[in-house]
């Protein structure tokens, strides 16, 4: 039993990290219908920014200061790659993100060199022990950062003034513009926010495995999580992240011995099964049929 609980807790913590990375992705998709194939590179840039700040600052401060920088990076991407294609076919923008991914791969290697970087120091240790159950510090931090961020985001989208505007722009840019809603500014904001969320994910991952191109591969986890959650649901991304994290953890604990290597495929198997039953994912918004 304690083995199961321990796996569960570890899964939830990893899932929180997945959720953090996926929420920004989902937000961009929701607001602009753009599938951001450069999301892995967003993690990478976040990781490198944290690393660079960490050269002169303690890690917690480096992570905090990364947020505005990553936000600015998101704005820059929006300005440079997305806005020029505004009003064009969404596919054009998606292709642009693929190009952006390649460009960022090269640019980060040029800027920071090819060797792996690692972060100095660590976040304050917050290991929790509940009887036999141990929650390692890094899991605690994942939960501590991801959960409030996710809940705040869900709440802001639902209730705040900006949230309503984001949803309005998401539904129809031209209708929003006609109502004098500054759609370009909202879209830029969403990209900035997405980059900042990815940066937190990148920084947490970097604390674990260093900064290097492998972070891009980690970014791929965003896709099963987002699809499972329904692509456009931020709350869905949160729950789907948890689900995928827990499934991976349990699969590692119980299935791996029977089928070595199954755990890597687990997220995708779950996505497949869920989509068969619910084509819109777990929380995807259904089309309003009535015209």
């Amino acid at each position: 039993m304690s083995f199961f609980l321990q796996l569960l807790v570890a899964g939830i913590a990893t899932g929180a990290l997945y959720a953090l990375m996926a929420m920004g992705f989902v937000l961009v998709y929701r607001a602009t219908r753009v599938v951001n194939f450069a999301i892995g590179e967003f993690l990478l840039v976040g990781g490198y920014l944290t690393y660079t700040l960490n050269l002169v600052l303690p890690l917690p401060w480096a992570m905090v200061l990364t947020l505005p920088l990553a936000f600015a990076f998101g704005l820059l991407v929006e300005r440079g790659f997305v806005r020029p294609l505004l009003g064009r076919n969404v596919v054009a923008v998606i292709m642009a993100t693929i190009g952006l991914a390649l460009a960022l791969d090269g640019a980060t290697q040029l800027a920071w060199g090819p060797d792996q970087k690692y972060l100095e120091g660590q976040l304050p240790v917050l290991t929790l022990a509940l009887g036999e159950l141990i929650l390692p510090s890094r899991s605690v931090w994942s939960l501590l950062l991801a959960l409030p961020a996710a809940l705040a985001l869900v709440y802001a989208l639902k209730r705040s003034r900006y949230g309503v505007l984001v949803r309005a722009v998401a539904e129809s840019e031209v209708a929003a513009l006609a109502m004098k809603i500054p759609a370009p500014r909202i879209v830029a904001l969403v990209w900035g926010l997405s980059a900042a969320l990815a940066a937190v994910g990148g920084a947490l991952l970097a604390g674990l495995s260093g900064v290097g191109p492998h972070l891009i591969a980690m970014g791929l986890m965003v896709f099963p999580v987002a699809i499972l959650g329904g692509m456009d649901s931020v709350g869905g991304a949160l729950l789907a992240g948890m689900l995928v994290g827990v499934a991976e953890s349990l699969s590692r604990g119980y299935l791996e011995a029977l089928v070595p290597g199954i755990t890597e495929a687990t997220p995708f198997l779950i996505v497949l099964l869920v989509l068969l039953a619910r084509p819109y994912g777990l929380f995807g918004e259904r089309e309003i049929e009535r015209v």
């Binding site: 309503v164 006609a178 309003i288």
Partner: protein, 258 residues
């Protein structure tokens, strides 16, 4: 004063939709722009709203003046600053947002307290909306959606309100009611109203002056009385009359379903 001078608009660089349109609207005045399908009415609305780019359209020649400012190429948010709001065809409410959220989105520039007051005023004016305030706008009826979009337009505080085919798809009784409300609004608020319509008879009932568009040009311009005297001529231009109107509706429906 809103002035359109010799406006030419093309879509995708080749399709000429407006071919030198000139018109003027004075503050506080109600003007109808009538015309059959494909005359360029909706293009005119998009141009006034600065929204052509979103439809792959572009002003080729001529200009649009609002007061002293030229807004021809100023983009979608500039006409707003000058106090012009264009309500696009098809009642483009945000269907996944509730009625309240739609109103809040439209009135986002107002200070919080004022927004609350203004929303209450809109809801008082359209009691049906008040009843359904927490429902998603996509589930409202056509008439209710039309009220909602007008309410939203009011929350943007326009001095010039351009409305594209509000009567579309509504029962005649609802159309008469809606137009009376429009008229009332226009009077109370001292708005300049540009009513872009296919339903000439209903529109003529509430406006001061009339323009008729055909194939991207102004083919008739005059006071309402002159137009009414010449309803036959108008009907010729609009391809209308009771039978023609039904035909037009059927055409519309087909277009939307395909």
């Amino acid at each position: 004063m809103l002035a359109v001078e010799n406006l030419k608009v093309v879509y995708r660089g080749v399709i000429l939709a407006l071919d030198g349109v000139t018109l003027r609207v004075e503050p506080g005045e109600a003007v109808a722009v009538l015309g059959p399908n494909g005359a360029g009415k909706s293009t005119l609305v998009r141009a006034l709203g600065g929204l052509l780019a979103n439809y792959e359209g572009r002003v080729l020649d001529g200009r649009i003046l609002l007061g002293d400012a030229e807004i021809t190429h100023a983009g979608p948010l500039a006409p707003a600053r000058e106090g012009l709001t264009a309500v696009l065809e098809g009642r483009p409410v945000f269907r996944y947002l509730t009625v309240m959220e739609n109103l809040r989105a439209a009135g986002h520039r107002l200070p919080r307290a004022r927004l609350a007051r203004e929303i209450e005023e809109v809801l008082a004016r359209f009691p049906r909306l008040a009843e359904r305030r927490h429902e998603q706008a996509g589930y409202l009826s056509g008439g209710e959606q039309q009220m909602l979009i007008l309410g939203m337009a009011l929350l943007t505080e326009p001095r010039f309100l351009v409305v594209d085919e509000p009567s579309l798809g509504l029962a005649p009784r609802l159309v008469a009611d809606l137009f009376q409300r429009l008229r009332q609004l226009q009077r109370e608020r001292g708005l300049a109203l540009v009513l872009v319509e296919q339903n000439a008879r209903a529109a003529l009932a509430i406006v001061d002056r009339v323009y008729v568009l055909e194939r991207g040009r102004v083919v008739f311009e005059g006071r309402r009385e002159e137009a009414e005297r010449d309803v036959d001529v108008l009907e010729f231009y609009l391809g209308e009359g009771p039978a023609g109107y039904r035909q037009a509706r059927r055409y519309r429906r087909r277009k939307r379903w395909v």
